[in-house]
């Protein structure tokens, strides 16, 4: 056997390589052909899908266009409806008038007695009125900010007189000079809402602070009589103190301090006279003057050694006075008639032996129309009504109020204490509540310093100095 030559071997290897390469190429070609087919199919599917997508996009675009057209139409329709409603509201407002907002301090039974007055106004004018409760203390931080923004939370607002003067002068309150006849009111009562002869507020009804209240049946049961002299008053206090169970003959209210100021004012008006009361209000007599100090030393301080109770805040003590278990006398305003279950058993007496003209401290409720009311015409109508004989007659008929309008007839008052009060005040000099008239920081100082005096009478001089430091 002949061995192949090198050349033959090379040729054989090359032939084998050629065969293998050809076979591989053939196999690869067949495989790629499959892939290309698959790819072609995919591209065709994709093209189909893109076609579908284009159709969908076109459909969505059509829908959006339809929606836009519909929305525009709807919006136009809604705008038309709003215009129609607005027009209708205006028509209705023209027909029935706007709704006024009155802001006042009364809640509970006192609010119930005020709402009939507003109802009477509604019946008379057809203007609707809604009532919101805000005490003056709560309004004080709100109103300045509201006014600064050119707004007001109500159309007629009850507020402190000094606040009305201050804000009226600043232009936040409508001037009402000439709107009401000032001759129809108790002398001086409107002076507190005037600045430079310009009237900025009205005087509603008010409360008298005539003196010490007692229960007639308690006096009868214990053989007590109403005093006519200072000596008899002191004897009465001693007699009450001797009754078993009595803690103090006179109950002192507290609240935030104002009941003590009412008691003090009564002593000043009685034993200092109405002129001293006015002078202290105007700041022409000093609180630490000899005249005032003597009055306190002779009349008030001796009673602070156990005759007056400590200042009491809670109404439970009024129960203890009313049932005679702990106290015999109670100094309070005429609204006490609404705080006891049998007002016909109530009696009242002023401090006896008043020198000179008699005066009764009277505290009116003041109201105003803000310059920013949206309904000035109707608000001023309500203003006039509240100041009128008609409006105040409605209020006094509910009990516990005394009219500032002097045309309110006596028969408008409910029989009993209210009528007695109205009669008692007729012809007497009306003194305006001292601390309400001055207001401001003086008022809180006056209250808190009297609270101190009531429990530390030895501090009298320092207390009077502190009050004088804040006096006008």
């Amino acid at each position: 056997m002949k061995m192949p030559t090198t050349m033959e071997n090379v040729i054989t290897v090359l032939v084998l390589i050629a065969i293998v390469t050809s076979a591989g190429s053939l196999w690869y070609g067949l495989t790629v052909a499959d892939d290309v087919g698959t790819l072609t199919d995919s591209v065709a599917t994709l093209v189909d899908q893109m076609g579908d997508l284009a159709t969908s996009v076109a459909s969505v675009a059509t829908s959006v266009a339809d929606l836009a057209t519909a929305t525009t139409a709807d919006l136009a329709a809604i705008a038309d409806d709003i215009t129609a409603i607005s027009d209708r509201v205006k028509e209705v407002e023209k027909e029935i008038g706007p709704t006024l907002t009155v802001i006042g301090p009364w809640s509970g039974a006192e609010m119930d007695a005020f709402l009939p007055v507003l109802a009477a106004f509604e019946n008379k004018t057809g203007t609707k009125v809604s009532y919101r409760i805000y005490r003056a203390e709560d309004l004080a931080p709100i109103l300045p900010a509201q006014f600064a923004a050119g707004q007001a939370p109500g159309d007629v607002i009850f507020m402190w007189n000094w606040f009305i003067q201050e804000k009226g002068e600043e232009g936040h309150i409508l001037e009402v000079t000439g709107l009401i006849d000032e001759a129809d009111f108790r002398p001086g009562v409107l002076d507190l809402v005037k600045v430079d002869n310009k009237l900025y507020g009205g005087a509603y009804t008010g409360k008298g602070k005539p003196g010490f209240w007692y229960r007639k049946s308690f006096f009868t049961a214990n053989g007590l009589t109403v005093p006519t002299t200072w000596a008899e008053f002191l004897t009465l206090v001693d007699d009450i103190a001797a009754i078993p169970g009595i803690v103090n003959p006179i109950l002192s209210g507290d609240g935030v301090g104002w009941p003590l100021s009412d008691i003090t004012e009564h002593f000043i008006a009685t034993y200092g006279g109405p002129q001293l009361h006015r002078d202290l209000t105007n700041g022409t007599v000093a609180w630490n003057s000899t005249q005032v100090e003597t009055l306190f030393t002779d009349r008030i301080v001796p009673l602070l050694d156990g005759d007056f109770s400590d200042p009491k805040t809670w109404d439970t003590y009024i129960e203890n006075w009313w049932n005679g278990s702990e106290y015999g006398l109670y100094f309070m305003g005429s609204w006490i008639t609404g705080m006891v279950d049998d007002p016909t058993d109530l009696g009242v007496f002023s401090l006896p032996e008043a020198p000179g003209a008699e005066g009764v401290v009277f505290s009116a409720d003041y109201f105003f129309v803000p310059a920013y009311t949206e309904h000035p015409k109707e608000a001023l109508e309500l203003f006039e009504f509240l100041a009128s004989e008609e409006g105040q007659s409605h209020q006094v008929a509910e009990g516990g109020h005394i009219a500032t309008n002097i045309n309110v007839p006596l028969d408008a008052y409910p029989p009993g204490v209210d009528t007695d009060m109205a009669i008692a005040m007729t012809g007497k000099e009306t003194l305006l509540d001292l601390d309400d008239t001055i207001g401001g920081e003086f008022q809180t100082t006056f209250w808190s310093q009297l609270q101190l005096l009531w429990v530390q009478p030895a501090q009298l001089d320092a207390v009077l100095d502190a009050i004088e430091a804040k006096a006008p």
């Binding site: 203390e137 004080a140 931080p141 300045p144 201050e166 507290d254 609240g255 935030v256 301090g257 400590d310 200042p311 009491k312 805040t313 809670w314 439970t316 003590y317 203890n320 702990e326 207001g439 401001g440 920081e441 008022q443 809180t444 100082t445 209250w447 808190s448 310093q449 609270q451 101190l452 009531w454 429990v455 530390q456 501090q459 320092a462 207390v463 100095d465 502190a466 430091a469």
Partner: protein
């Protein structure tokens, strides 16, 4: 990654802007405006530090003329001193009461109910709290006086809020009850973070409960103590509502329980002297700022 960080940094002002605008409008501007108007008179004239001088020399704020009379004199010792008394009495009492209760209640079953009951004082509106205090200390109906009567301490029976020497303390002691819930909750949370092993090791080493408290519990509660002190201090400095409700806006008998914030209110909304009120507000802000900065510095250091 770096690009994302740079982008986020670039957008930071954008993310902050909503909150920033609100803070500038409703916090920063009023604060600056308050400070600004404190340098002017009510007629708009620049008066420099006159308002601050008036405030700090007024008896309502500082009344050290006759210290021997204490709170029984008109204006008491002045609102600033009353605030300091609040801090001196109320802070340690409420803090240690809360701590003591937290420790006592730590291992008690059903403690959460007791804690909730104590915490109720915290969630009670302070205006309501003030009225409750007034009622609590009333001579004839209050529970405190009833308690004194039972104990035979009739000489202490009185309407506490009606007497100058007791009015301030009545409000402070009553507030301890209302505020203790805060320190109780904070300390309870702090106690839960202290590992039991520390106590076991101390027990094995024979440490007394007293030593364990001062060497383990109290030091490890230091961050909580700081929070309690800071928050209580701030509350005491700006105290207003509870005093207003308990003794009235006049600040109690002879203003013996008056405080800075209440005096600020009276000057602002009774006298409508916003400039003097602004001076008090600025002083209050400065005082609270000192406390806040102290706390922030401590926390940053930690």
């Amino acid at each position: 990654m770096r690009t994302e960080i740079i982008s986020a940094k670039k957008n930071l002002p954008l993310f902050f802007s909503p909150a920033l605008i609100l803070i500038v409008l409703f916090v920063l501007f009023p604060v600056l405006q308050t400070i600004y108007i404190s340098f002017f008179s009510s007629s708009g004239e620049f008066v420099g530090l006159d308002n601050y001088h008036d405030v700090l020399t007024s008896k309502e704020i500082l009344n050290l003329g006759d210290v021997s009379q204490g709170l029984s004199q008109p204006y008491g010792l002045g609102a600033l001193v009353h605030n300091m008394l609040w801090i001196l009495i109320h802070l340690p009492l409420s803090m240690f009461s809360g701590l003591a209760l937290a420790i006592i209640l730590r291992d008690v079953k059903g403690a959460s109910v007791v804690k909730s009951a104590i915490f109720l004082g915290m969630v009670t509106p302070m205006i309501v709290g003030g009225l409750i205090l007034q009622f609590t200390f009333e001579e004839g109906v209050g529970i405190v006086n009833g308690f004194f009567n039972i104990l035979g301490l009739e000489q202490l029976t009185r309407t506490w809020t009606a007497h100058p020497e007791t009015a301030l303390f009545a409000v402070i002691f009553g507030s301890v009850w209302l505020w203790t819930g805060f320190s109780l909750i904070v300390y309870s949370a702090g106690l839960a973070t202290i590992p039991r092993e520390y106590y076991e090791a101390a027990k094995i080493d024979g440490a007394t409960p007293f030593r364990t408290f001062f060497r383990i519990t109290f030091p490890l509660l230091k961050p909580m103590t700081l929070v309690v002190i800071t928050m209580t201090l701030l509350w005491e400095l700006k105290i207003f509502d509870i005093v207003w409700a308990a003794v009235g806006e006049g600040g109690g008998p002879g203003q013996a329980s008056n405080v800075l914030a209440l005096q600020m209110y009276v000057w602002a909304f009774r006298s409508f002297d916003f400039n003097r009120a602004a001076a008090v507000a600025t002083i209050l802000t400065a005082l609270t700022l000192v406390v806040s900065v102290w706390m922030i510095r401590y926390m940053v250091k930690k």
